[in-house]
């Protein structure tokens, strides 16, 4: 597997990974704002957000129809749709593409659910690797607390209840997240994750992220051409934000 840079794409893909509650979505949002404000070509894409596939996924989740195999396949379908329709064309057009979760989320979750690792990796082998992957590593207790305090009603699949780890959703969530963390750590070297200590303050983490990106990428080469009217590409789940960007 090669990165987009190694495949001579003019664009670059930056991914963030981490447990629920690790703060990665906040970090990638702040990164996106920083890049946009420099008038760079930026696109943001979120895991499980393809309009087409989403209705099937939410039906499957709501009615608890999903098995480890179909859970894996439906997320692969979602990923493929975003990959072929948005990520690849935009990377060809020289964009900085920011992904909130990438194939490593599937590698970790699906394997914890019992799918064979070779099978899962084989399915995603059409995707190039990110040029930079930030792994936000918070202590398990820290991320559990963030989730459990803010959103006490845990969803069935989110808590890994389908794995029958415990009858108690909170306990199930703890065990499930712990196993996912193990998978992430095991992949960290193989896929050259840049690990960020997510126990730190938001600002401290963002400083590290921005520093590393400035060092690794020539940001000026992603500037929008003069005179190009900026019409932000809608990112499916964040429609509300587009209004403020358009002004």
């Amino acid at each position: 597997m090669k990165t987009f840079a190694e495949q001579n794409f003019p664009g670059r893909l930056i991914a963030v990974e981490g447990l629920d509650g690790s703060g990665k979505s906040t970090q990638i949002y702040l990164l996106k704002r920083w890049l946009e404000l420099q008038n760079l070509k930026v696109y943001f894409s979120e895991w499980n957000s393809s309009e087409l596939v989403k209705s099937a996924t939410s039906k499957g989740k709501k009615r608890e129809l999903l098995t480890p195999t179909t859970f894996s396949l439906i997320h692969a379908t979602d990923f493929a749709d975003r990959y072929e329709r948005h990520l690849v064309p935009l990377l060809r057009a020289g964009y900085l593409v920011l992904c909130d979760r990438y194939i490593f989320t599937a590698f970790a979750r699906d394997v914890v659910r019992g799918c064979p690792p070779e099978w899962v990796r084989g399915i995603y082998n059409f995707a190039a690797l990110p040029d930079l992957t930030f792994f936000f590593k918070a202590d398990l207790e820290v991320s559990l607390r963030r989730i459990l305090e803010g959103r006490p009603q845990l969803k069935y699949f989110e808590a890994g209840m389908d794995l029958r780890l415990s009858a108690d959703p909170y306990e199930s969530f703890r065990i499930f997240q712990g196993r996912i963390l193990e998978q992430y750590l095991a992949m960290s070297t193989e896929f050259k994750f840049t690990t960020v200590d997510a126990n730190q303050l938001v600002e401290a983490q963002q400083v590290l992220v921005r520093e590393l990106i400035s060092k690794k990428l020539n940001l000026d080469s992603f500037k929008r051409a003069e005179g190009v009217v900026v019409r932000p590409v809608p990112s499916p789940q964040k429609k509300a934000r587009i209004e403020e960007e358009v002004e």
Partner: protein, 249 residues
């Protein structure tokens, strides 16, 4: 005194079962007592007619049956239909969506029915899905890994009807050719008739290639419904008696 018909019921012989690849996590193929019979072929090759006759025959002979087919899953069939109407999905996405549909039926219908000793009749199986994807340029090794979840059937019958006759049958039935069965998304020709002919010819070649790996019984589908059904019944009878396996050339 035995009642009529009772002594004619063939109790299927136990055969070895396996998945093509890793299979489904936690499922022991050894516990699947039923039989899986697949009928493959293009639209207009007579698949559904043949399956309807086979169901009558099998049920008349004392076997419980279940039918499955593509795009019939609870999970994604509606969404898949909608996506196809708009023709907005790219090839990899559509391929994975169909794989999801297949997996849902495999786990929720096929495997439970086989566990309960039913004869499952599949109106198309992974081979059509693989052939369609291969014609659209997806990698064969990638597809083999993906469909490693599938159970190896007891028999696969490929109803072979040449494109010249398929085109006649399809037009006679609906006075039109189906967009997808003509492979219009491939842009082989702007003319729908030409496109259908080219696409079905390529699909037939791809099936022949898959035949070498998966061992289908190729059945001449140009004969009368009854003649074709007789051949199918004869072969299925032999399978149930444990005398016929997949053919590999």
């Amino acid at each position: 005194m035995k009642r009529t018909g009772e002594n004619q019921i063939v109790v299927p012989r136990k055969t070895e079962r396996r998945f093509y690849g890793h299979g489904i996590p936690g499922v022991d193929p050894g516990l699947l007592a039923g039989r899986l019979i697949v009928v493959e072929g293009a639209d207009g090759s007579g698949r559904s007619t043949q399956i309807a006759h086979l169901v009558d025959w099998l049920e008349g002979s004392g076997h419980a049956t279940v039918q499955v087919g593509l795009k019939r899953s609870t999970l994604v069939s509606e969404e898949l239909e909608r996506a196809q109407q708009g023709n907005i999905l790219s090839r990899m996405t559509l391929g994975l969506f169909y794989a999801t549909d297949f997996a849902d039926q495999l786990e929720n219908i096929i495997l439970p029915a086989l566990k309960a000793g039913f004869i499952v009749l599949a109106d198309r199986y992974i081979y059509t899905l693989m052939a369609r994807d291969m014609v659209r340029g997806l990698d064969e090794a990638w597809l083999k890994n993906l469909y490693g979840i599938a159970l190896e059937p007891d028999a696969v019958f490929y109803l072979n009807v040449p494109p010249e006759e398929l085109v006649q049958r399809n037009i006679a039935k609906s006075a039109a050719l189906d967009y997808w069965e003509s492979g219009m998304d491939l842009g082989l020709s702007r003319d729908m008739f030409d496109c259908f002919m080219k696409y079905q010819t390529t699909m037939e070649q791809t099936f022949r290639r898959l035949q070498r790996t998966y061992g289908f019984h190729i059945v001449d589908g140009t004969r009368s419904t009854e003649a074709v059904n007789q051949e199918l019944r004869k072969k299925i009878g032999a399978i149930l008696a444990g005398k016929l396996a997949l053919t590999k050339t």
